[in-house]
Symmetry: C2
Subunit: 213 residues, 2 copies
């Protein structure tokens, strides 16, 4: 698998597991994925739950990013109005190979306009608010994640882990030209994480819980 | 539920999901759990995967801790030899109501001597190495987590999320004197996280994967 740089976007009020669930998978692929944390400025960024993570780069000095991960969290309510963040996302998404969101992170991609005309999903508990941020997006009400090619969006919080394993399998399959090898790489990661991977993107028990199915 | 302070121990090479999986649950109980991050010194601590989290306190100035969470990660190989960390764990565990470990974090509690004579579990891929750190511990080869009362230890990485939800249900049940209400609090958290909680501590598919069952 060719080495790719993954940029994870942090902002005040990001949801912890939206970031660190996917990073438990992407972060355990040395030589294949190099992870960098990006925020408005380099330095500590407070999560929705209180603990702080450190941004390695500010938006202005972030390196070239092959992949971008946008978490959700209560902070999205404020940062959908943050022009600098939304414009940066629009610009960097254009240059990236794959752009992912977890949970309400899809609201930020929607505001950036990059999901227009595409299928996408988000957290089921706050579905309508996110959908309102992108009236031209084809929002999917029942999906663990939606793979629209370049843009891959997941449902709430834990769904980001399932999406990350899917993206890893897809990229490894592509690079190795071997579907089985891609799937095995992701399955090995899941075993190391002692995680029962939900491999079917269409199985979404939480759509029903939140009245969307 | 009475407010409790949870201290999460960070050290270089901690596993991201061991920390932030349980914190996704404990961190979403404002007024019930107050989270503080503790390390040798206050400031950034690098994870096994590269991203850094910020310690709010050094060991010397940590506040009173009602609960302690000890993550695992490749860094445990070094810090089992760190007398200051192991002695701090022994002292603070004595004063705490509940002490938890995730994955190879159990090796640190074992070295601190606090698990002697108790049932405990750990990551299944590195089971023997952890068991060797505490020859007087009653190591359980097949368990998603083990609740020995004050000490609650989980299997690898993702198992920490299941353990955290169990501990929350147990504490809420105790405080409210209502088993059903305790369980509902944890189930509501799992729904918010869109997480399918593995509620049976004895069901451990990974023991078989790693040849322990």
């Amino acid at each position: 698998m060719a080495e790719r740089t993954l940029g994870v976007v942090l902002y005040p009020g990001f949801e912890l597991l939206d970031v660190f669930g996917p990073l438990e998978a992407f972060g355990n692929l040395p030589g294949m994925v190099s992870v960098t944390m990006v925020a408005a400025q380099a330095g500590p960024v407070v999560s929705a739950q209180g603990p702080r993570a450190v941004a390695d780069h500010g938006f202005a000095d972030a390196p070239r990013l092959d992949m971008i991960l946008v978490p959700g969290g209560i902070g999205t309510r404020d940062v959908v109005e943050d022009r600098a963040l939304v414009d940066w996302l629009a610009a960097r998404s254009g240059a990236a190979e794959i752009v992912m969101s977890v949970c309400t992170g899809a609201a930020l991609l929607a505001r950036a306009g990059v999901l227009d005309g595409q299928r996408a999903t988000t957290n089921k508990a706050f579905f309508q608010w996110v959908a309102d941020q992108g009236p031209k997006v084809e929002w999917v009400r029942q999906a663990r994640w939606v793979d629209a090619g370049k843009y891959v969006t997941s449902s709430g919080v834990s769904a980001g882990i399932d999406m990350a394993l899917h993206v890893i399998a897809r990229l490894a399959e592509h690079d190795l030209a071997d579907k089985r090898a891609g799937r095995e790489l992701a399955e090995n990661l899941a075993r190391m994480m002692e995680y029962q991977w939900h491999t079917d993107a269409d199985v979404d028990p939480f759509a029903k819980v939140w009245g969307l199915a």
